[in-house]
């Protein structure tokens, strides 16, 4: 499999595993030094905002706590399209993907919840490509009743 194919599969799996609440498999896609943040531009404040920020352990803690929390019912579906892959040396890549997240409620009605970009840093460790950094650059700023689950 080419680097580009492997990276596309990695981005796709990151969506599928979160959609399926298979958090163990999601974390298996992440490098030990993984960092995750949701960044949003505020036209009201005219500055960037951070809405969520975790390292790998922090993400694991979020996932572990999820079953105890009150969440919006239904399912999320993340669809990402890789737009660019830029090699940084031999074992690092900057990857930009456009994504859309749909929410399907328990009656089966689907609505668009969010759109934005994944700005990912991907690294190759022992021949396997892994997510090293993910910045979720959200364009959507009204998430309705909110989320506990990272996008």
């Amino acid at each position: 499999m080419s680097d580009h194919d492997a990276i596309r599969a990695l981005i796709g799996k990151s969506c599928l595993t979160l959609d399926d609440s298979d958090f163990e498999s999601y974390l298996a896609l992440c490098a030990p030094a993984y960092s995750y943040c949701v960044r949003v531009w505020s036209p009201e404040l005219r500055k960037d905002m951070i809405w969520l920020e975790h390292d790998r352990d922090g993400m694991a803690g979020v996932f572990e706590a999820l079953p105890e929390h009150l969440q919006r019912s239904g399912r999320l579906s993340r669809l990402a399209t890789v737009a660019t892959i830029e090699a940084i040396g031999t074992d690092q890549f900057d990857v930009v993907s456009k994504f859309v997240v749909h929410h399907t409620d328990v009656e089966g009605r689907t609505q668009t919840l969010a759109v934005g970009r994944y700005n990912d840093r991907v690294v190759r460790i022992d021949g396997v490509v892994l997510l090293s950094e993910r910045e979720v650059a959200l364009e959507t700023r009204d998430l309705g009743i909110g989320l506990h689950v990272p996008l």
């Binding site: 949701v38 949003v40 505020s42 036209p43 009201e44 404040l45 005219r46 500055k47 905002m49 951070i50 809405w51 969520l52 920020e53 922090g58 803690g61 979020v62 572990e64 706590a65 105890e68 929390h69 009150l70 969440q71 919006r72 700023r141 009204d142 998430l143 309705g144 009743i145 909110g146 989320l147 506990h148 689950v149 990272p150």
Partner: protein, 395 residues
Amino acid sequence: MVARDQSSWDKMPDMPAGHFVSGLVYTDPDIYRDESNKVFSKVWHFACHESEVPDKFDYRVFVLNGQSLFAIHGEDGVIRTFLNVCSHRGAKLLDQPSGNARSITCFYHRWAYNSQGSCTGIPRASGYDDVKKEAVGLREVRTECLHGLIFITLDDGASSLAQFIGPALDRFSDMLTGQPLEVFHYNQAVLECNWKAWHETNMDLYHEFMHVVLRQTQVNAMPMEDRKLIVFDGGHGGSGGDLKAAYDGYDGFAGRGGDVPPLPGMSATDFRFINLFPSTAIISRGTVVRIDTVTPIGPDKALLEMRGLGVKGEPVEHRRIRQKHHNQYWGPFGRNVPEDMVAAESCADSFRNQAGRYQIIARDEKMAGQDDAILRAFYSEWGRRVGRDPGAPVK
């Protein structure tokens, strides 16, 4: 009989007046119109924080009672508010939520206004015989600032902001003014519920049990009887003394507060809140402040605006930690606020078609613990202003 038949379900609760609220207050269109005319057209309403318009000509657009308005930092240093409407044909003047405008020029026919609301330019004015610039200024709305909070009222004859709020913000003055604050977080959400259903989540301590994060950090952090609540004339109410949080109780929150200086007058584990009638809540968790305002859009729809504030000019690392503290509870991915939204919409769903008939606000813990006194004070003021009994608002 344990379960109830329809007549029992419909019957007014056998409780003292003020201890229950009819579900019609959330759904009835006539009540909604009364709220618009008798509450939101009359009260002082939180518009924004002064840090959102720090420099001359900075403006901030917002909505109240369905009307677009903007607050602008004038050339003379005074912050004023105007309807966001051109005097000429009614076009909206400012279409961005914030910005800086030395001159406010309508896109439609290029009529221009200054930061004091005067009309300063009418293209080809010679074509008008009976239009004078002096007579076509913007509609100014009364604006006052207290502790950095900018309030406006649509009622030209309203009493002063100080009279409206009374002493309700006194316990917040050190925190809000001891160091300059600034807004670092803003988000909004349109909720499928009546505006009061949201605001109740801020006034109702009893629902702490809904949140796992509060069950683990707050419910047992201090004896319930030591919690002091307070209500004020005008329907305001909040914590009378500081409540405590034990952040070590929740995984990932351990050490919270030891890593950044608390806000003036607070310790890192203090929790203080005030609800200002009708629809603003100010909540501080030691190191960070949240201000939320809910604005009606319709009987069954409300705009929620959430702000997070930290210390202006603080080191980047402190700001990052304060953001984290804010987001842990109150961010769109937080452990607390998204759950409140679920609750507000869930109740609305029951009352929408009168499946739910009444809600009970009868907890009496002598102004301690999880007393419903703040809710009762709110509905007492609501009833006074709207001219309806919250328990039987429709005859």
